[in-house]
Assembly symmetry: C2
Homo-oligomer: 214 residues x 2
DNA sequence: ACCTGAACACCGTTCAAGT
DNA sequence: ACCTGAACACCGTTCAAGT
């Protein structure tokens, strides 16, 4: 029955909408202690959709056809994982603040993902005490980026008031018109203006991470 | 009277606690349209506490005693701004998701900060169409970092379950014991384990930004 | 112009009572 | 073991009525 509850990764996460199970609100409390526990279950099923498989084959030095040198392969794994991570959580923006401050105790899929990523970083040669800082730095950026995707495309539209911020307004115009010119959305975000900042920050973090390798 | 309301940057932002004004909840609706408008006012007063003054003197090439070369000075301005930004919003974590997705229309202090930062980046020589992406990338990281500060220090404590994530658990141990050894908190965060990831990501973003200068 | 009191629809949670 | 119905304390919002 919990499995059905977990399927309710859909929006709002309100009990009223969890009544798609054709059940009273009070009945839910026979299966979960409180809403926090429900959100933990949802968090874990959402986290399980993040693709961290790129970190798995990082130790295979024997294969002669392994793509590129180790630095390149780690960069690729970090990039794919980050894109997937942002993609998944941009669909559940209301979960972001919760996940960012929630202990992972009792969330098996979440722990599994951390284990995969940590293992990949370790076999790539990252010093052990740097693994967690790297992961946390990436996650901080990814959480913020996921929220940014759900910002309205007009976050910076201060059109009627432009006069008191001319330089910034000009920079917004220069950026938005540059984006409008090349129409394709590289990482497929909903907010077209969110992709370039994401790529810029992601490249910076990846570059700094591979620079930590011996 | 609104000024007094703005003073209520204190926690909870609930109307019930806004009754420190010795007034009924309903009376508030004579001054604001709804809670969203109130939060906009709070957002702006919080944003006004972010220190962006480091970007102001960036154009002074005449002064012979200007500290270091332009790249160094921009890096310093970005660092001070980021530390202040994270510091301020780590005190109001519940505002972060709101601010990250709220248009800045009608928020004068917020617009003022963006103008200062944008001007600093422009005079430093950053191409105009890169200004907004850089700011957004920084903010994404800063929002995530601010939430991370408010995560319990034990976000990664999966003690009883360690067995199924041995590599990650070892990495957590290596990191936490390394932090515990050097007791000082560099940026003064509440969560001592949040400072190193923040510094790591911040250095990465700063490095990538100055690399964009011609 | 500004405030109060009462009401409304919502939310998370509890609990006695049923089967 | 699992569900219901009713109740509780809370929240944001509205509105008639006061001064």
């Amino acid at each position: 029955l919990q499995i059905v509850v977990e399927r309710g990764q859909s929006m709002l996460t309100m009990k009223a909408l969890a009544d798609r199970l054709g059940v009273t609100v009070a009945a839910l409390y026979n299966h979960i202690a409180n809403k926090a526990e429900l959100l933990l279950l949802v968090q874990d099923v959402v986290m399980s959709r993040v693709d961290a498989t790129g970190f798995s084959g990082l130790g295979d030095r024997s294969a002669a056809d392994c793509a590129g040198e180790p630095r390149e392969r780690l960069a690729e794994a970090l990039r794919n994982w980050s894109v997937s991570y942002r993609q998944v959580f941009s669909e559940f923006p209301e979960l972001v603040p919760l996940i960012a401050t929630t202990p992972i105790s009792g969330a098996p899929a979440t722990r599994g993902m951390y284990e995969t990523v940590a293992t990949g970083l370790a076999v790539a040669g990252l010093p052990e005490e740097r693994i967690v800082p790297v992961i946390v730095a990436f996650e901080s950026f990814l959480f913020g980026s996921a929220m940014d995707v759900n910002a309205p495309a007009s976050v910076f539209s201060s059109r009627p008031y432009e006069s008191d911020a001319p330089v910034f307004a000009a920079a917004v115009d220069a950026f938005t018109s540059a984006v409008d010119k090349r129409c394709s959305a590289p990482t497929g975000g909903a907010n077209p203006y969110a992709d370039e900042p994401f790529g810029l920050g992601l490249d910076a973090l990846i570059g700094a991470t591979v620079a930590l390798l011996p």
